[in-house]
């Protein structure tokens, strides 16, 4: 994060007396009213003049997070919101709304129901695929409009730093030695990405875990520090602080190549130093979508507006820092390429979940 630029702003504000601040509140109010009236006029003009110019939001944009506050998706959504606000990338405000009920089904159904509403976008995680498959909620990603893949989130196998396991093999051997259902794997939610990975590890190594579902990723990392579980598959950003503090150890990353970030995160290691699980004989490869979708039935113009907006977001230095801090795979795509990727990924989840026995009973 660019602290230097923030602090120059601070000095500018620090001299501002209180009364002016309050005055600012009133003036914001007035400008907002004025803006909304101007906006009304704009709509009137717009409809009469036809859609000659490019589409722009005419009211505040609701940014739906199909998960609770504080999780990875929520962090990214609030981060995007803050970047948009900071660089004034949009004339209208962006409001983050958490609709995490029913493993995200609440949010997805809300956007699915807001047909043709261009003022609603949603950030997705793997529950885009897993929730309908596991719960039978009538929803499919094809019922939304894909906009942009922002990044892919990595998964890392973590153990408590006090344990003797140095490699993934050490750990899976220990799990096997302990016997089936003795060692505990903590994860977020049930029949979602963390449990899918756990099952994949079990298939590959022959080890058998007790999977304990928790509500959020941050909670899982702390449970591991407190030794209430033996390992986790947290996303990098969920466990990075505990790693830096020397409380957790990263064993391997579930990707086909090591992460590209070379800057030191802990005293000795960078994200790039974490070996791939494949190189450790654990051939599991799983990454999670962080993508933006819109309601069904929106026009191409409207989709293009958000693609351009998100492009500007991805070009900011803050975004780059955020990506590095969370060791994201910065793959980004949109349009047909994105749709193809989604189709492939859905099929993969279908088979992964079928193998694991996670599909909803019909």
């Amino acid at each position: 994060m660019n602290v230097a630029s923030v602090s120059t702003l601070q000095s500018k504000f620090a001299s501002r007396p209180v009364s002016k601040l309050q005055a600012k509140f009133h003036s914001t109010l007035l400008t907002t009213i004025a803006a909304s009236i101007a906006c009304a006029l704009a709509i009137a003009q717009h409809t009469s003049a036809g859609a000659a110019e490019a589409w722009k939001p005419t009211k505040s944009v609701e940014f739906v997070v199909p998960a609770g506050t504080g999780g990875g998706a929520d962090q990214m959504a609030r981060f995007i919101q803050s970047v948009v606000a900071k660089y004034k990338l949009m004339d209208q405000p962006m409001i983050v709304v958490n609709k995490g009920g029913g493993a995200g089904a609440e949010g997805f159904l809300d956007v699915k129901g807001a047909s043709k509403d261009p003022h609603k976008i949603i950030i997705t995680l793997s529950n885009l695929f897993t929730t309908p498959l596991a719960t039978g909620v009538p929803f499919n990603w094809k019922e939304l409009t894909p906009v942009q893949m922002m990044a892919l989130d990595q998964f890392v196998l973590w153990v408590n730093a006090e344990t003797p396991y140095k490699t993934a093999k050490d750990y899976t051997d220990a799990v096997k030695k302990a016997g089936p259902s003795k060692m505990k794997m903590g994860g977020t939610g049930s029949k979602q990405e963390d449990q899918i990975i756990t099952v994949a590890i079990e298939k590959q190594s022959g080890a058998k875990f007790i999977y304990i579902p928790y509500k959020g990723g941050g909670e899982v990392a702390v449970q591991l520090v407190g030794n209430h579980v033996d390992s986790t598959v947290n996303n990098p950003i969920e466990a990075v602080e505990q790693w830096r503090a020397g409380q957790l150890r990263a064993l391997c990353v579930f990707d086909d190549a090591a992460m590209p970030y070379k800057a030191k995160v802990t005293k000795e290691l960078s994200w790039g130093d974490v070996p791939t699980c494949k190189s450790q004989g654990l051939d599991v490869d799983y990454k999670m979508l962080r993508g933006i979708f819109m309601a069904p039935g929106v026009t191409k113009e409207q989709v293009d507006y958000y693609i351009a907006l998100l492009k500007k977001v991805r070009e900011t230095p803050e975004w780059k820092d955020f990506m590095e801090k969370g060791a994201f795979d910065q793959k980004a795509m949109n349009g047909d390429e994105f749709t193809k990727w989604l189709t492939k990924e859905e099929a993969r989840h279908q088979s992964l979940m079928a193998e694991a026995g996670f599909l909803a009973k019909k």
């Binding site: 109010l29 907002t32 009213i33 909304s36 009236i37 906006c39 009304a40 006029l41 709509i43 009137a44 009211k59 505040s60 609701e62 405000p93 409001i95 259902s181 007790i210």
Partner: protein
């Protein structure tokens, strides 16, 4: 409760005994529904602890059992403080507010194919109706209060806190949504 003292003088709309019994039966039905759905999910103690329906099943069971006791006690007329659940005049008062409130929510939400009017216009109507009908205020006073209260809400929710509330045709016409 204090109102019980003068109630025998008034005509009772429904007796406490009947109401108590009806509520107990409703609890029983609810408990049964919970039990039924829990068995569908699996209500046993699995190999690794309770299944999804385990706790709800027992909640349903206890609910049903307690409801039976309550129904019997109601039938026998136990723990009844006043014979009348609500007098006719009191019930009228309650409905004089409850029905307009239901109508108010219908106005916001819309009925079937008729779209709702949003949160703000029905709120003005609702407050105004109360003031004229129950408070016997003059129209000028009524309109001033009802409109200014709702405008304050609008500013607070839409402008300051950026919480969008449902909006209807009027807001659309004014370009406020």
């Amino acid at each position: 409760m204090s109102q019980s003292e003068n109630e025998p003088l008034e005509k009772s709309a429904v007796s406490t005994k009947v109401m108590d019994f009806v509520v107990a039966v409703m609890f029983f039905v609810l408990g049964a529904v919970v039990m039924w759905d829990s068995t569908r999910l699996g209500a046993k103690w699995g190999s690794d602890g309770p299944e999804a329906g385990y706790f709800p099943f027992y909640i349903g069971t206890i609910l049903c059992a307690a409801a039976i006791v309550n129904a019997v006690r109601a039938f026998l007329g136990k723990d009844i403080k006043a014979p009348s659940f609500v007098s006719v005049s009191a019930l009228k008062m309650v409905f004089s507010v409850l029905l307009p409130t239901i109508f108010y929510v219908l106005l916001i939400d819309g009925v079937g194919p008729i779209p709702g009017l949003g949160m703000y216009v029905p709120s003005v109507i609702f407050i105004a109706a109360f003031m004229v009908w129950l408070g016997k205020y003059k129209w000028l006073m009524t309109l001033t209060v009802s409109i200014s209260v709702v405008v304050v809400f609008f500013l607070m929710f839409e402008i300051w806190f950026k919480v969008p509330l449902p909006k209807g045709p009027l807001e659309a016409a004014l370009g406020l949504n």
